[in-house]
């Protein structure tokens, strides 16, 4: 097997040159003829009854084309639990509730019109603390459920529960036990490109939605369901991605603004764009939700984990989006990060009048791993074992079947922990105020069967000039897929990356896809591409078997005409008798048995041209598709099942210096070690690791949406502290490549893992440095000082 020409190489992102020249068209930049601009009026209260809405002044404003309230559109419930409507008619349950919407000829007029709408409210008692909200007699966020049945409690009907083994027995058998309570807060995904879409209907009421989403086919299901209830049954929906300015989980669901754009477009018969401003992005986009964990673990005298018991409470906010399903992902680290035979996990999602939550990079895993890894350090201390050693004792190993029935195939966790130890000089004695900490992760890295299909489709066609069109069913949200997929296709087909032209994000062109989430794109698209390329290659080689002899004979004829003395060489045509005898590499077709054959080695384009322009009614084109759906399992009712083909492992190690005067935590070094299967493009891979780790540092130290009585208090970059280039974090990446047998060229997913263990590693390092444990994120100077003071 010759070496790869492109896979594993740091091919530049030349295919994305439009992004460095200002040519890339984001939703901000996209205009449609006659397009109107939509704007939303949000609630002024956390919980209130709408007494009246006066839209008359807004309607009279010049340039306004439509004003909608809940009374103007069908009262149809949407969302994961169907617990809200598009525009709220009677009751608002959070500050971001959509009360009215306007379409106007320019954004300024739309904004002015929204200001002119007068709403009278009657305030209702509200509840903001999830523990408070679980008590009896507190205000109910929802009086009835989706079917109109009265509700008695704010607890969601989502009983997330996982059980394996015998916790009571294991607790009895444990030599050491630790208990911790940790909590995480709201953080915003902070896509630099804010949310937005353009809804456009054709004359027959078929919808095209230009949308900043990463789950294009997810929209189709949800909007189809909505259409069925508003009199548009059977209409076609096409979702098209412009260039997506980041996603990080924000766009998994169909959000309310998207339904509003659809309603405004229906009303006005014009394309309508809604584009969030930054303030809306902070308060009207569902962020990562807060979670409180109580976690208990026990181990035997040798430090082997015997049980893990954890209960979580999630502040769901007023409505339900994918945030409420993050416990399904939390079960993965809870049951399967390190070997632990007896596990109990229960998560309770509680309605409050706070903002509701969505997915963010890691999808519940960063929260849960913060709990598990805090507890790992506590238990290691209780057992008197070095935290790194404790993790090595309990590490996952290739071939493990975890209590959740995850089948661990490749696993580089040992190498990751060991690398972190080495790179941090783990055993070194440190001066006062300095410390080290580590945390590991497990994450899906070979798809994630969270819906019944975890499929991903690719179509490939070649033209007679050797251009390869790849119709990809996923979304390019900046992760580098255009480059990586072109490397894979070039390698598998035998062409060059610059021959590849990718079309992402268009449901009308692409086969189905479960979504560009769960770190699944390279794995799924890679495997689909390899399958499609094999089919295309077969077609090309069949063509070659027919065409090469003809090409050669024609060539000889020409030579004879030019030079009557030319003597035809005696060629062994059995070398190219069957498609199996041939191969393609670097744009050339050649016989396998004689790769440099002076006559049979022929440019691919020559065969393609001859195959198409036959002239006798037998012309052929090369086109192939592959829909890859891996043999994985949905979680069963016990929340068990092998939902991914493979799993990513990694370890973050951090050295910190804590200033006891100011409480500030300085990261002196961050080692980010990851088992990636195979580095498809080392430079791009590092970008994923750096970016994710950085977001993890923000999660650990600075980032928090401050929500007071339901209202977001810091909806801007001045007050929400995302890290800037001045926050220098010296990151040292370590790449572990065990080569996964199911991955394309051995690769596993890498998008989310870098974020997951970073915050707990920092927390553990802070503890190591100053002897106080900060158990609620982020670890701000105020919290450090307070904890130091309490310690005395």
């Amino acid at each position: 097997m010759p070496d790869n020409l492109f896979v594993g190489k740091s091919i530049p992102r030349t295919i994305e040159a439009d992004k460095v020249t200002g040519k890339a068209v984001y939703i901000d930049d996209l205009k449609r003829p006659g397009m109107l601009y939509g704007k939303i009026l949000y609630s002024s209260h956390a919980h209130a009854r709408i007494k009246s809405i006066d839209t008359s002044r807004a309607e009279r404003l010049e340039g306004v084309r439509a004003v909608l309230t809940g009374r103007d559109i069908p009262d149809v419930r949407v969302g994961f639990l169907k617990d809200q409507t598009v525009l709220k008619r009677d009751v608002v349950r959070q500050y971001r509730d959509e009360v009215a919407a306007v379409a106007a000829i320019d954004p300024d007029i739309a904004a002015e019109a929204v200001r002119l709408i007068k709403v009278e409210y009657e305030q209702l008692p509200a509840v903001f603390d999830p523990y408070e909200a679980m008590k009896e007699g507190v205000p109910l966020v929802h009086e009835v459920d989706a079917r109109g049945r009265p509700l008695k409690s704010n607890i969601l009907p989502l009983p997330w529960k996982f059980k394996a083994g015998d916790i009571d027995q294991a607790r009895e058998d444990s030599a050491f036990i630790s208990k911790d309570r940790v909590s995480t807060t709201w953080v915003n995904q902070c896509c630099m490109g804010t949310s937005g879409c353009i809804a456009e209907f054709d004359q027959n009421n078929n919808l095209t939605l230009y949308d900043q989403t990463n789950v294009i086919f997810g929209h189709i299901g949800r909007i189809t369901e909505y259409f069925e209830q508003i009199g548009l049954r059977g209409k076609k929906i096409r979702v098209v991605n412009p260039v997506v300015g980041g996603s990080f989980g924000t766009k998994l669901d169909t959000d309310i603004y998207e339904f509003i754009a659809i309603q405004l477009a229906l009303k006005t018969r014009k394309p309508v764009k809604i584009l969030f401003d930054r303030e809306e992005e902070f308060f009207a986009l569902p962020p990562r939700q807060p979670t409180v964990f109580t976690i208990e673990q026990g181990c035997d005298r040798e430090g082997r984990l015997l049980f893990r018991h954890c209960e979580a409470v999630l502040d769901n906010g007023a409505y339900t989006s994918w945030g409420a399903t993050t416990p399904s992902v939390m079960i993965m680290p809870m049951s399967s990060l390190y070997r632990v035979p007896n596990v109990y996990f229960k998560a309770t999602c509680v309605y409050t009048n706070n903002i509701y939550a969505q997915a963010m990079r890691g999808y519940g895993n960063p929260q849960a791993t913060f709990a598990v890894e805090t507890s790992m350090d506590s238990l290691a201390e209780a057992a008197g074992i070095d935290p790194a050693e404790f993790r090595l004792i309990n590490r996952n190993r290739p071939g493990d079947h975890t209590p959740m029935n995850l089948k661990i195939t490749s696993c580089g966790l040992e190498e990751c922990i060991t690398a972190v130890k080495e790179k941090l000089d783990w055993d070194e004695k440190r001066e006062e105020g300095r410390g080290v900490g580590m945390a590991s992760l497990i994450h899906v890295a070979g798809g994630a069967r969270v819906t019944k299909s975890d499929g991903h489709g690719i179509m490939i066609k070649l033209d007679e000039y050797g251009h390869v069109d790849v119709i990809e069913s996923g979304t390019d949200q900046g992760q580098g897929s255009p480059t990586v997929i072109s490397q894979i296709v070039a390698e598998a087909l035998g062409v060059r990356p610059e021959d590849i032209f990718l079309t992402f994000g268009d449901t009308a062109l692409a086969l189905w896809d479960a979504g560009t989430h769960a770190s699944r794109h390279t794995f799924m698209a890679g495997n689909a591409a390899i399958g499609a390329c094999a089919k295309a290659k077969r077609q090309i080689l069949e063509m070659a078997v027919e065409q090469i002899p003809k090409i050669i004979k024609r060539d000889f004829k020409r030579k004879k005409r030019k030079d009557p003395g030319f003597v035809e060489p005696d060629l062994d045509f059995t070398l190219i008798a069957n498609p199996e005898d041939l191969d393609i590499r670097d744009r050339m077709i050649f016989p396998k048995k004689d790769p440099d054959h002076p006559y049979f080695k022929i440019p691919l384009t020559q065969v393609l041209r001859n195959g198409l322009h036959v002239g006798i009614g037998q012309s052929k084109v090369v086109v192939a598709e592959e829909f890859y759906d891996p043999p994985t399992e949905m979680l069963n009712w016990e929340m068990k099942g092998n939902l991914s083909m493979t799993y990513a492992f990694g370890t973050s190690g951090v050295e910190v210096e804590v200033d006891k005067e100011t409480g500030e935590v300085k990261i002196l070094k961050l080692v980010s070690a990851h088992d990636v299967g195979k580095a498809m493009n080392p430079t791009l891979l590092l970008g994923q690791i750096y970016g994710a780790a950085y977001t993890g540092v923000g999660y650990g130290l600075t980032e928090e949406i401050k929500v007071r009585n339901g209202r977001v208090m810091n909806p801007n970059f001045r007050d929400y502290q995302m890290l800037t280039a001045m926050d220098v974090v010296p990151i040292e990446p370590v790449i572990v490549e065990p080569m996964d047998e199911d991955g394309p060229f051995g690769a596993k997913g890498v998008g989310e893992p870098g974020l997951v263990p970073t915050a707990p590693a920092i927390a553990n390092a802070v503890y190591n440095a100053i002897g106080v444990r900060i158990t609620d994120l982020p670890i701000t100077p105020e919290k450090v000082l307070k904890a130091l003071k309490e310690k005395g």
Binding site: P12, T21, Y26, C191, M192, Y690, N716
Partner: protein, 157 residues
């Protein structure tokens, strides 16, 4: 709305914009000249996605009222590549070194970096980080952006 007529140099060419006096430079670039490389990431000068160069200085074009541009010289990302399409070393370095991911911050990031390199051809890492301190990026963790600027600086020498 009262319109003003503003003449200035845009990417080396003399231009005149007739736009409402309340418009910003960013809005004028995007709406009047249809140069959409500069982005409105926040609209209040916090994120740097709208960065352009005015008279040699990197500025947030979302904060710059259009009357202030009269007689000035403005450079945007669209003017950076050569007429034949040859990329500027900064653009090339961002592609080679993964300084770009989703790309939304990239125009601003490159323009801030260009203003720096025009003044300091051999910047330290700290000078690079200071120059892009007002340009937010969620994708990269800034590491490969800083490396890209370093790579371009070497190339330009």
């Amino acid at each position: 709305m009262k319109k003003v007529s503003i003449s200035f140099t845009l990417n080396g060419n003399s231009v005149t914009a007739e736009v409402p006096e309340t418009w910003t430079l960013l809005k004028t670039l995007r709406e009047y000249f249809e140069l959409t490389g500069a982005k409105e990431g926040c609209g209040v000068g916090e994120c740097g996605a709208c960065t352009v160069i005015m008279d040699g200085q990197a500025i947030n074009s979302c904060l710059c009222p259009i009357p202030e541009v009269e007689g000035r010289s403005v450079d945007t990302i669209e003017g950076l590549a050569g007429e034949d399409g040859t990329l500027h070393p900064l653009q090339d370095a961002f592609l080679k070194n993964n300084g770009v991911q989703c790309g939304y911050c990239t125009s601003g990031m490159i323009m801030s970096s260009k203003a720096l390199l025009d003044q300091k051809p051999d910047p330290t890492e700290e000078e690079i980080r200071t120059a892009i301190a007002g340009n937010f990026c969620r994708c990269t963790g800034y590491v490969q952006i800083v490396e890209s600027v370093e790579m371009a600086a070497k190339e330009l020498k």
